[in-house]
């Protein structure tokens, strides 16, 4: 009893400390959640058990921060998130019934949703967008540290129709910048990736005349320098001259990233910009599952000039009905923590992600209430 009370006190203190540090960071995505967080903290203390999950490696850093933060409030809960699985492995293990939730860079396909029903019952599974980031266009070009690109130019570069940096299209995007005649080397992912999926989706929507290949998680254009992982792309871009590639913004380190044209303005990456983009441009995808929050992005809506044009959404997927009610309690508590203000701030600080728009976070909380 004594130990328990001590645990609760410790949890509250820890939560308070975390909230304070988070407040010091940035004032993004403000919602009314300090009462929510503190009441939740009291709840978490009574939980115990193990959450088994895995999937998307994009979420890995954020999941690590979340499980550490959650552990501070729910000392008897262990969260094991296996990032080595990748999105595909996460979904496969989830539909095989071995995960409490899966992390995935794409929401379940119709096929996968059907498979999920075998595990979750006819209620199926819900996709909850818990992690936001942006796809950054990184480049390394001697003498140039700022670059502006339109979707059309971007598509031409990555389909290798534009071969040198002093091409007329690039000059038009960058008035007043002296561009050298260096050959362009496009750097892409050699492994299948949600980042590739998001980026090809963007090009497919915004430059359909140039980008004619379908959306894919595997880079579809031959002739690029294909590298393993976001870090492989970043390292190779850094090592070369005249290189350009794409990567999750949280992984680009000190490389310069291009500003991307949206409407008639060029927008640089910012966490707020991504939050804003997701708030304005997503439309719910039809999945037929009540409470599902799969989102399709309509990039054409991003014209305001303060929304980053290539946002990236990653989901946590869980059953609407768990086989084990105790496990459902654990998972909903954890995801609830993840989408809480505090959780989002921790991820923004530790993993460089963008905070969820408050309306979307509220919807996720609504859905979590229905999970049992």
């Amino acid at each position: 009893m004594k130990a328990l009370r001590f645990g609760q006190t410790a949890a509250v203190i820890a939560a308070g400390a975390l909230a304070l540090t988070a407040c010091g960071g940035s004032s993004t995505g403000a919602t009314s959640s300090s009462p929510v967080a503190s009441s939740a903290a009291a709840d978490y203390g009574s939980l115990s058990g193990t959450i088994t999950a895995g999937g998307s490696s994009a979420q890995a850093n954020a999941q690590a921060a979340w499980s550490a933060g959650f552990k501070a409030q729910a000392a008897k809960v262990a969260v094991n998130y296996d990032k080595s699985q990748g999105s595909g492995g996460g979904v496969t293990n989830f539909t095989a019934g071995s995960y409490d939730f899966a992390g995935s860079d794409a929401y379940l396909s119709v096929d996968q949703a059907t498979k999920a029903q075998a595990v979750c019952g006819i209620g199926g599974a819900v996709n909850l967008p818990v992690y936001l980031d942006g796809v950054s266009i990184v480049f390394n070009l001697k003498g140039v540290d700022k670059l502006q690109l339109s979707a059309e130019t971007l598509a031409k570069i990555f389909t290798q129709q534009i071969k040198t940096w002093d091409d007329a299209a690039l000059k038009a995007d960058n008035p007043g910048v002296t561009l050298p005649s260096t050959t362009i080397t496009t750097v892409t992912r050699s492994d299948g990736s949600g980042t590739t999926q998001n980026f090809t989706n963007y090009l497919h929507q915004m430059a359909p005349a140039v980008w004619t290949t379908p959306v894919s998680n595997k880079w579809p254009v031959a002739g690029s320098s294909a590298q393993q992982g976001g870090s492989g792309v970043v390292n190779t871009v850094k090592a070369g001259d005249g290189t350009i590639g794409y990567a999750d913004h949280s992984a680009i380190g000190d490389l310069s990233a291009a500003a991307i044209k949206a409407g008639d303005k060029y927008v640089s990456f910012s966490q707020d910009g991504v939050t804003k983009a997701v708030a304005t441009a997503v439309t719910p995808a039809k999945s037929g599952v009540a409470g599902d929050l799969s989102q399709d992005i309509d990039y054409t809506k991003l014209t305001t000039g303060d929304a980053y044009p290539i946002p990236l959404i990653s989901y946590d997927i869980l059953c609407t009905t768990f086989k084990d009610a105790a496990q459902a309690k654990l998972a909903t508590a954890y995801i609830g923590y993840v989408v809480s203000d505090q959780g989002q701030k921790i991820a923004a600080k530790n993993a460089g992600s963008a905070p969820l728009p408050s309306a979307l976070a509220e919807k996720i909380r609504e859905t979590l209430k229905t999970v049992s």
Partner: protein, 408 residues
């Protein structure tokens, strides 16, 4: 294998073996343990093969152009399993062959230096260093390849493209980051170097001292001695060492995945960025995490193909080592040097015995590195057996022990 020979030629040994064969409990237990160990390896191998086949079959049989899983993502754009795995199998073999082309001459050079040129202390040290190379994890080689070898080899590749671009191998648009199959093959070559070197060194050390000294006595230079005595004797062993190195190169994953910028194509160009054929192992490593459903089965199917290729390589290596004609060659090679040096100097009675038998004295020959003179008087077959063991053991540390165990 050698035991049998002993039985057939020397009657003195037979009763002794019968006595030990009369089963005591400890013997039975040990026999059971070793037998089950031997059986388990077969079961494991069969299990792996079975797993690969069962998982691969649905993907091999599926229609790749209409299947919702296979027509998108990592397997998208291929008309069927064979058109997917074909370029991958080519890339696997191509990268490995390139690596071997570079590694083999160097490995044989090092092995010869250790076995015939260097002072003994240095030989030990060098051997140790070479074995250490084999212990470096491949992810470290991968990082080394990215950080060091890519920029280091970049000027060479640009030069090759500029001046030798008319040779098809060096044509195409030259790499600007160094992420080409040439860089990958160089790193791969370093990785297979220790295997080829270690085995070749053991083989070269097996060369009968008498052969060598006979060659020298006839006025050969040291190089001629190596050409006349060491190479003919070690040929099959070296070939199988190369094939074992090939086996290692075929299965290498991380370093290749990290260094080479891959594409699923059949291309002989060495220094491009976008036309480097992908290998099976690294393709699986790169794409398995994101693959779903049948895509995973398709990747496992490519693993099955790799399994078959590796198995074939190892079987060929075995065949070459076990090939009978070799024995004759050794004699032929020995003869021109003079009056059959292998036995002319007969130090012991063992010489008189059948070639088939390994003389007990052969055991001493194993230690000849430490001896000044030779006690060795042995037929070619003893050495063949020894060479086989050396190859089987991979790294021939077991040689001396084996020889000691054979002493009556």
């Amino acid at each position: 294998m050698k035991r049998k020979r002993d039985v057939s030629t020397s009657s003195a040994v037979v009763p002794a073996r019968r006595v030990t064969a009369r089963a005591r409990p400890a013997d039975r237990v040990f026999k059971f343990l070793s037998t089950s160990a031997a059986v388990s390896i077969m079961v494991i191998l069969a299990g792996v093969a079975l797993f690969l086949i069962i998982r691969a079959l649905p993907a091999i049989g599926a229609n790749w152009t209409t299947n919702p899983d296979l027509k998108t993502g990592v397997t998208g754009g291929f008309s069927g399993f064979w058109s997917y795995v074909g370029p991958l199998a080519f890339g696997t073999v191509w990268a490995s062959v390139l690596a071997l082309l570079m590694a083999t001459p160097v490995a044989i050079g090092i092995a010869l230096f250790i076995s015939h040129y260097s002072p003994r202390k240095m030989a030990n040290f060098l051997g140790y260093i070479i074995d250490l190379l084999a212990a470096v994890p491949s992810v470290v080689y991968g990082l080394w390849g990215i950080m060091v070898m890519r920029p280091f080899l970049l000027p060479l590749q640009e030069w090759l493209n500029a001046y030798l671009g008319w040779i098809p191998f060096f044509s195409g648009s030259v790499t600007s980051t160094g992420s080409s199959i040439l860089t990958g093959a160089v790193v791969l070559a370093v990785m297979v170097l220790p295997i080829i070197t270690s085995i070749s060194r053991e083989i070269f050390l097996q060369t009968p001292k008498l052969h060598e000294e006979a060659a020298l006595a006839l006025g050969s230079t040291r190089w001629e001695m190596i050409r006349l005595a060491v190479f003919p004797y070690g040929r099959s062993g070296v070939v199988s060492a190369i094939l074992l190195g090939l086996g290692r190169a075929l299965g290498e994953t991380m370093a290749v995945a990290m260094i080479i910028s891959p594409a699923i194509v059949v291309s002989f160009r060495l220094i491009t960025e976008g036309e480097n054929p992908q290998t099976i192992a690294s393709n699986i490593a790169l794409n398995f995490p994101i693959a779903t459903g049948l895509q995973r089965d398709a990747l496992i199917g490519t693993g099955l193909v790799l399994f078959v290729i590796s198995l074939a390589v190892n079987m060929v290596a075995r065949l070459i080592v076990n090939a009978k004609p070799r024995r004759k060659k050794v004699r032929d090679a020995g003869n021109p040097r003079g009056s059959d040096p292998g036995r002319g100097d007969g130090v012991s009675a063992a010489d008189a015995e059948d070639d088939e038998m390994l003389s007990p004295l052969a055991a001493h020959r194993q230690e000849r590195l430490g001896d000044d003179g030779y006690d060795g008087a042995d037929g070619a077959d003893g050495d063949v057996a020894a060479a086989r063991t050396a190859v089987s053991a991979g790294f021939g540390a077991g040689l001396d022990k084996r020889a000691e165990g054979d002493q009556p």
